[in-house]
Each structure stands twice: as C-alpha cells, then as structure tokens.
C-alpha cells in the first residue's frame, strides 16, 4: 500500500489546512505518512500544492506519480492533468470547468455547493475535500473528528458540528459516486502510535528540550516556523523570544544572552546568515556558545524564497572573517534534526563555539511519521561555572590557558569575579593586547587545541544498504530519505548503498568507521546534491582525497523525488 494524494490550488484556498488535516488523520490511524509542500512566495493566488504519501510501511520521500488529485481550482486540473497514474483519480469542482471531464478517473465533487447545502457556508469546502478523500479509502468519517475539533478549537460547537456534517457529506459523495473505489484498498495499519513531525518543529522542540532560554531572529522563509513555535511555547517554558530588527541584531542579542549565562539560538536563511557572519566571527573570537540554524533556500540573493536547495554548504563552512572552530550538523530527517539540535546546544557550550544546524526548505516543511523519540537519550549538561562553584575560586580569568583550550565559562554577576570578553585579540583576562606571543598562544588555545578534541566528537557517516556496495550514493542533509528509498528500490538488483553525512564540520575522521575504504571499493560513487556545483563532492575530495565518479545535481529549486532519482541512477548504472 503506497498512495500519493495531491491537494492543489491557489494560496488562500485552504489547501494547507486540508493537507495538514489529512496527514494528521492518517497518522492517527497509524499509517505512515510523508508530506511535502510546494508553494509560491505569495499569500493569495498562484499555484501551490500539498502532497501526502500514505503507506503501511515507513515512507521517507515524495513520489512523482499521484493517485488522487484534489484540484481546488481550474489551473490545478489543467496543470496536473497528466500527473496521475492511469489508475489515478481527479477530484474537481464541476463549477470550475465549462463542461464536465469525462471518464471514471474524474470525480466531480462540488466542494463549495456541498459545503453550502449541508453546512450553510462555502468556507467549509475543505471539509468536503477531507471527507471525500477519507471516503475513497473507506476510512470512517469519525476518524477525522478529533483532528477537526483541534483545528477549529477556537470556534463554536455549532461550527464544529457543521464541519463534521459537511465532512460526512463529502465522504458519502465519494463512496456513492466514485467508480474506482477498489483501487484504493488499504492494508491494516500499524499497531504503534506514530509521531507526525516536520523539520521545523523537530528543531524547535529540540531547542526547548535542550534548555534554550533565549531566541532571537528576523523572519525569513524557510526558518520562520521555528520562531513561531518557540514564541507559542515561550511563556510556559520560560524562553524569551524576541524578533530582532535585523539578523545582525539577532545574532548579537543571542551572544549577549549567552555571555550573560543562558543557552541561546537564532535561525535564518542564507541572506540573513550573510548579515550574521560578522557576529559569527565575534562568537569565534569571544568563545561564546551559540546555536545557529541555517535553513537554506535557493540563492543567490533573494533567489526562490519558498523553494529548496543545498547551496549554502560552503557559506556555512567558511562564513565569517578570521579563523575559528565551528561545528556544522546536517541532519537528514526531522528526527535527526531533533537530535542534532540537542547536540548543537551541548557542543556549543562544551567547546564555547558557534554550532550550526543546517537544513533547507524541504527538511523544514516535510512531515514524517515515526515512532516516538527516545527522550531518555537527551543530553543536558550545564558546562557554565555558576554560583558557589564560581564564588569559591581564588582567581578567575575568562581566557585562561588550559590543556584542552577550553577556559572556564563563568556567569557574570554570580560572584565577585569579573567576566571580560573582547572582540579584539586579548589576554587571559580578556583585555586588549597586540603582542605576538599572546596572539599566537590564543590562536592555539581557541582553535588548535579545541579542534583536537572536537574532531573526536564528530559522528561518522551512516552507511545504509549493502555493506560492500558496488554502487554508492553519497550525500548530506535532507537528501537522506530519497537516497534511502532509492537504495531500497534497487537492492534486489544491485549491490547498492547510501553513505549519508549528518555531521560535516569538522569533517568526520576515519578512526571510528573507515568509510574511505567503502568509497574506494565501490565501482561507482554518485554524489547526490541539491546544488549546481557539487559543493559536498568537493568537500569530500578536499577532506579525504577521494573523488566521486559522478554527481547528480538538481538546482531548479525542487527536491528530488524517489522516481526521479531512481531514473537517474538507472540511467547511469543501467548496465551495472
């Protein structure tokens, strides 16, 4: 069982509500769900879709082919006309077309009319659509009740009831009029409860559970959802969330908060990060722990604001003037993003450095199902020197030279010890110096010594599939799911595997896992990246000396679909 439903229409028509409701209902029924969205940078109009894949097995990427198209406007009918499989079905509002579309695979569904007749308001048309899709799968309309109630929690009981009646009417309409119901037979659902979470929420939830106390950012797609989530939780969880006047301010605010003694984070996209690079360098010089979440979208400049790309890898690796250590985590799934956020806060404070969680629009918006996160694995250590432990010291120097380069991080005001930090080169007390010897020792302290132990922290890449592969797909970040499914689809035919890097800076060494050997022994190595220049392939070559035999690069602002990547691999290795 593996169906794809596409809800398409103009912005402002409620397709987001419809898609999100369906995804939630399916996951509550304990089916696996994968959703992705494609929307234009506008609030009204345009063409947008919300695509939901539902299966009895885990699904981790979008499919090209659609089984059910819910077309909320005429353009969607025209545009996606050819997309559904021959078995596919199009639900459309007959009021939108001049003459009815003929054939069993068209199900005229007067969304607005049913909504008005049954519920009294056209605005409930989305509930007709949700009901109709549930009807096609023969899921009971009652399965939707909780989700409808939650999405309308600020509305009256009367309105909720009317929506449920409208939904039931949509359900009936589909059951009574669809001539291909046998195409939509489902398998039994799973027994375990499933989470449904996207990358944005995984990162934001990860920040709360990691003890983030201060968040400042400037709104920028696709990172804004993190601020929306945290602002909603701020009062209850005692987090100050402040929308800064610009990204320069945002990063300097979190540096101030972190200096004062609390865990702090910001999130942005490429353009905002460009403004932050000066502050990033300050974090490096002052050794102030901060977490920066960089959610990529296609550039340069404003680029495609609502689409996806992995074009900022180099920028995040090398942004900021001067030399200082940093960590860059590139999670591939919402669950990895959750753990990466926890790790980011820990590593930032342990080593007193900036740590990046880098994602993209695709990771931010895609929803995945999976079992509950094992929260007992969460790590929380307060590395700061506070209260009596600090007061008991006879002397304190913010940048004292230590064996591992990590100097004690004291909370100012907690004792009579003064905490002095400076963006100028400084001595152990934090005061400005210009002499060569101190400068040299400071570089060695904050950069060389820290890097030695930092390198050992970095996780090796994840090898999935064949242990000794002939074909190896290589990638980082959000391509994890699509590469994994491609491997799954081809495993019976080829000795194939995926090598996925979720931590790329410092680049993983070979001591914990000799992945270089896997690379060298594979006949074909294919680097899969959502950028035009193969930034990761180049990084891999720079760090290991290994050159991939070929690359698959997509740079039209859209994610890979399983079908497209599969075709590409088959085209390249059809004869392997």
């Amino acid at each position: 069982m593996d169906f794809t439903i596409k809800v398409a229409g103009e912005a402002g028509q409620g397709l987001q509500t419809t898609g999100a409701a369906l995804a939630r209902i399916f996951s509550r029924l304990r089916y696996h769900v994968f959703t992705h969205q494609d929307y234009m940078s506008r609030i009204r109009g345009g063409h947008n879709f919300y695509q939901i894949r539902i299966s009895d097995r885990p699904v981790t990427a979008p499919r090209q082919s659609v089984h059910i198209l819910v077309a909320l406007d005429k353009e969607s009918v025209d545009r996606h006309f050819k997309e559904p499989l021959q078995k596919g079905l199009v639900l459309y509002d007959p009021e939108l077309v001049n003459e009815p579309l003929r054939g069993d695979n068209y199900l005229p569904t007067p969304f607005a009319l049913i909504a008005e007749e049954v519920g009294g308001k056209k605005i409930m048309a989305n509930s007709v659509a949700v009901g109709a899709v549930l009807g096609l799968f023969n899921f009971s309309p009652e399965a939707a009740e909780n989700v409808v109630r939650e999405s309308l929690e600020d509305k009256s009981e009367e309105i909720i009831k009317a929506n449920l009646q409208v939904l039931a009417a949509g359900h009936r309409h589909a059951r009574e009029n669809c001539k291909m119901l046998d195409q939509f037979r489902t398998k039994p659902a799973r027994e375990e409860k499933l989470l449904l979470i996207n990358g944005t929420h995984a990162i934001a939830f990860g920040a709360v559970t990691a003890g983030c106390r201060f968040y400042s950012a400037y709104p920028m797609t696709p990172s804004t959802g993190i601020m929306v989530y945290l602002a909603g939780k701020s009062a209850e969880h005692n987090i100050i969330v402040e929308q800064a006047e610009d990204e320069i301010s945002a990063i300097n605010m979190i540096l101030g908060a972190s200096y004062a003694g609390v865990r702090a984070m910001t999130a942005t996209s490429g353009g905002g990060y460009a403004l932050m690079t000066e502050g990033l360098s300050l974090a490096g010089m002052t050794e102030t722990p901060v977490v920066i979440c960089e959610m990529q979208r296609p550039g340069p400049a404003t680029g495609l604001p609502t689409r996806t790309e992995q074009g900022d890898l180099n920028f995040v690796l090398y942004g900021g003037h001067g030399e200082f250590p940093r960590v860059v985590l590139t999670p591939g799934t919402p669950e990895q993003a959750f753990w990466a956020t926890n790790r980011a806060f820990d590593l930032a404070e342990k080593y007193q450095i900036p740590v990046f969680v880098q994602g993209d629009q695709y990771l931010a918006d895609c929803e995945w199902t999976g079992p509950a996160f094992d929260l007992s694995r969460l790590h929380y250590t307060d590395y700061r020197l506070r209260g009596t432990a600090l007061a008991g010291l006879t002397g304190y120097r913010r940048y004292s030279f230590t064996e591992n380069g990590i100097s004690p991080l004291a909370v100012p005001g907690d004792s009579k010890h003064l905490v002095v930090v400076d963006s100028d080169e400084h001595d152990e007390d934090g005061h400005i110096i210009e002499d060569a010897e101190t400068r040299k020792r400071m570089v060695e302290k904050r950069l060389h010594r820290k890097l030695e132990s930092l390198r050992r922290e970095i996780a090796p890449p994840d090898l999935y599939g064949e242990a000794n592969p002939e074909i190896l797909l290589i990638g980082f970040g959000s391509t994890y799911g699509v590469m994994k499914e491609t491997v799954d689809s081809l495993r019976e035919t080829y000795a194939i595997a995926m090598l996925h890097f979720s931590e790329v800076c410092p680049f993983p060494g070979l001591d914990r896992f000799d992945y270089r050997k896997v690379l060298e022994e594979a006949r074909s190595t294919l680097c899969v990246e959502l950028n035009a220049t193969g930034q990761f392939a180049r990084l891999l070559r720079a760090e290991t000396g290994f050159s991939c035999s070929s690359g698959v690069n997509r740079y039209d602002g859209r994610p890979f679909t399983t079908d497209a990547l599969l075709d590409e691999v088959l085209r390249l290795f059809g004869g392997a």
Binding site: L194, V208, T209, I239, G256, A260, L375, D382, S423
Partner: protein, 283 residues
C-alpha cells in the same frame, strides 16, 4: 559609598587631553557614590575610542563589534535583569554603524543605560565625519566639508518616545555625575549623550566651543512634556541645553514579557522533564 580607586581598570590609551578621561572619572565616581560593586554591572561596547572604556574601569565587560553594542546589551539585560547594563559608545559607533539598533532599542525600552561619547567626529579612524559632525566641517574624507546634515540624536529619541533623554558635558563634571546617576536610577532605556571634545581631530567643537554654549536646565524645566522637550532638543546654536530633556517612565521591556517564572532567566533551573511533554502534541 565606595572608594573611586576600587573602580580603576587598566591605564587608558587615549590621547592626552581627551574628553574621555573626564567621562571615565565621572562614571567611576558615580558608581562609587552609588556603591554599586563592579561585578553587579556589565559595560557593553562596540568599537571606537569610547568602546575601550570597559578596559579602563573594573567591570564585567562585553566589548563586541562596531555598532553592535545595543543588541548584545539587550540580550544581557533580558537574560539577567538583576545586572545593571550600561553601554559605552561613540557617535559613530552608535548613531552611524549601529543606527538601526539605536532606533529599536529605544522602541523596546530595554533596561539599558546608553552613554554616548559624542565628540562629533571619528577618533579611532583619525578624523572622518560622524553622523553628528556639523555640516560643512572639512575632513580628509570630506574635503568639501560634511555634505550631510547633522543628526540630532535627542530629537530622534524623543520622536521615538525614548523613556529617558539627557545631554551632559565633560566640562561640567558635577552635573554629568548627576545625569549618570539619574540615568542609572531610571527604570528603562536611558540615553545620555555626552559632549566630550576630541582634541586631536575636531578643531571646531572644542572645550571652549562647548563652554561658551552649554547651560544647565533648571528646576523650572518640565521634562515630561514631550512637545516642549522636542522643542528644547532642537536648540542648537549660541545656547545648547544640558540636563534631562525628556523623561517618560513606563514598564521596561523585560517587565512586559509574561514568563511563567518571575526569576531572571539566568537563575532559573532548567526543567527538562516539563519540556518533554511537548512531544505529545505531535501525535
């Protein structure tokens, strides 16, 4: 009352005769008079001659980036409201590079005391025009004279309903200390713009130039009348007022953030267990 010597930091590297010496003395004396121990306050600065001040006084110090002192100070003040947060900045640092932050720090009414060393010129980079340089003043980078009109930070602050707006002069130390004290006592954002002549690069706005013009506002002046205050802030010529030009007390930013715990963020123990329940919302 404490002793001023207890506030002494490193030896200043300013030019002999620099107005900053007076300003530093006034601040040390004010803190000593108020008996605020050095670990109870943090001085935040950016880059410039004014920004070196935290090294010359015993304090917790965050000497950050050019123009960026206010955002860092905002983060500190929000994370630890028990800390007295002061910013030591200059006219170029604060009104030029950091202009946008200046506007928004005022709007937030964050509990930060902003002491601007206003010498109407860039000192550290050797004498270029600053936002408060008088129109027409010639410099090496403005050989035809400064072409832009002079910024009026006080009028701007009043336009933004800044909760405390004052001007001081290092040539009147007693009054300057009074103004610093009032700024520190004020709950909310306080702007104190301080004339401090640059003996090396500003040959127009000298000690004498200021001495001939500045006067103290007396008790008859009502700083709570915003329109009158705006009018007063425009006075620039043969006479230039010093004193509290405008004051509008109201809750500061941190007081308006309704967190469940009243404790400063920095003193709160993280309740990780409570945060875990958020996972239920994703079923």
């Amino acid at each position: 009352m404490s002793k001023k010597q207890e506030y002494q930091g490193q030896k200043p590297a300013w030019c002999p005769g620099c107005g900053n010496f007076g300003l530093l003395n006034a601040l040390q004396q004010t803190l000593a008079d108020l008996a605020i121990e050095p670990h109870r306050y943090t001085i935040v600065s950016g880059i410039g001659q004014a920004a070196k001040l935290p090294h010359y006084i015993r304090c917790n110090a965050f000497n950050g980036l050019h123009g960026r002192a206010l955002p860092a100070a905002t983060g500190i003040a929000l994370a630890n409201p028990d800390m007295l947060v002061m910013v030591s900045t200059g006219d170029g640092d604060c009104y030029g590079e950091g202009g946008n932050h200046f506007l928004h720090a005022i709007r937030r009414n964050v509990n930060v005391k902003l002491f601007v060393h206003d010498n109407q010129v860039y000192g550290l980079t050797k004498g270029q025009a600053s936002p408060t340089t008088m129109e027409g003043m010639k410099t090496k980078t403005q050989p035809f004279g400064a072409l832009s009109s002079q910024m009026n930070p006080l009028a701007l602050a009043i336009a933004l309903d800044c909760s405390f707006v004052a001007r001081g002069f290092v040539g009147d130390m007693e009054f300057l200390q009074h103004l610093m004290t009032e700024a520190i006592r004020h709950s909310g954002f306080a702007l104190l713009d301080i004339f401090q002549p640059c003996v090396s690069f500003n040959k127009i706005n000298t000690y004498q130039w200021y001495q001939e013009r500045v006067y103290r506002l007396d008790e008859t002046y009502n700083p709570e009348d915003r329109v009158k205050a705006f009018e007063k802030s425009l006075e620039w010529g043969d006479t230039i007022p010093t004193g509290i030009i405008y004051q509008h007390g109201r809750p500061h930013f941190r007081e308006k953030i309704p967190l469940q715990s009243k404790e400063p963020l920095v003193s709160q123990t993280f309740d990780q267990k409570k945060s875990l329940s958020l996972m239920d919302e994703f079923y």
